[in-house]
Symmetry: C3
Subunit: 171 residues, 3 copies
């Protein structure tokens, strides 16, 4: 966002609209994952997109979209699956963009006693099942920004997640 | 954000400013709920706004704003109430907008042992008391965007929360 | 974002770009804290910046940046430290800005049994170690927006955190 003096209003406006479009892409991931929205997911990726969760990446938007229809994923949804994303970091460079985001997977507690919070009901609470670092590589297409590659790593103290985060702040 | 060629700079700029104004509305909800900021809440709604939490919706901005002044809500605040919102999905269409957001209610743990994290103190930790899906329907007014209806449902595996999320990604 | 009629396209565009630049500053904090990115942190502050965590504030960007290199902080990173920030509230006024944000510190659970979530692996889960309110005071510089003061308080029911939140919604 520096050296704006050299950029036309059109260029600056487009950079802003790109950013806001990408925010909505990231914000629409949890609703699609938590409802099994395979059509939405499919439409959000380029055809040869790769979803890399650490081993044996899923290749192709069809395969990526189908994951949320699996019996296991449907069971997770029935149990109260919630993806919860914070404010992502977005770096756009021409027709490509890199988003770095933290993402929780939250599920209802099934054990333990319910606790009452005044005016906010009684609940056994929810557990943060996973805490991950995500790197989303996007490309501009005639149909808008699409995901080309998503890399997800567990934030458990191991190096791969730190590598994703480090890339976000590399100068 | 497509078909931008047909839109004037003024129209595009307004769409961007709408989006940013709405982000701040959503971001100001937790500070108002967690401090009992009834004046702020009242100013954020249209007069006949409806807050629907599943049964017996609260009707009218006066009633909605008064909720945070109740003894129960004040007790929750004194106990360490924290609303924590992720990145919301925002869809604007002319003078109306729909925001879909995930929201945690987080409170201090009162049971169990404290755990020490090096350089980050000792704490019993915090519990996620609630995890909800929220649909905010907003309207443009001469005084800015105002909330007309908020629908909140527990993300506990039941259908109503999924319905809210599904609407966000409907094509 | 009101009274736009009196503002030039250039002024409005700059306000938008300021906002987006500030979002990325806030979003880059967790990756820097969780990887010990002292250079990134140093570059984000004005030289005489102050980080106030409640007692004995850290003064100067060199001292602030060095904190993440301490043995204690490095041990926390090795244990799986994750800063998780929600959608911040941003108020810009000319060449200064105030950001109010909620921030979780999340770490892996080391006790208890692992729980399996279908299709989402097995884990002991993560604990929310801290839940804080943050006030970031920023200033515009020739090198972009920089942090001048950050005030962080525990959201444990005590007054100082509420004061930070109340300032965000003051009219």
């Amino acid at each position: 966002m520096t050296a704006q003096a050299n950029r036309s209003v059109e260029e600056r406006m487009r950079a802003i609209e790109d950013r806001l479009e990408i925010y909505n892409i990231i914000a629409s991931h949890p609703p699609s994952a938590d409802t099994g929205g395979s059509e939405h997911i499919s439409a959000g990726w380029v055809e040869d997109g790769v979803f890399d969760r650490g081993e044996d990446p899923t290749r192709g938007r069809a395969a990526i979209a189908e994951q949320v229809l699996s019996p296991g994923h449907q069971a997770a949804i029935a149990g109260g699956l919630a993806h919860f994303t914070g404010l992502p970091h977005v770096a756009i460079s021409g027709d490509t963009a890199v988003v770095t985001s933290y993402l929780q997977i939250v599920v209802p507690q099934t054990q333990g006693d319910a606790v009452e919070v005044p005016n906010h009901g009684s609940s056994k609470g929810f557990r943060v099942h996973r805490m991950t670092a995500n790197r989303w590589e996007l490309v501009r297409t005639p149909q808008g920004w699409k995901i080309k590659r998503r890399t997800l790593r567990q934030l458990d103290g191991s190096e791969p997640a730190r590598k994703i985060l480090r890339q976000a702040i590399a100068r």
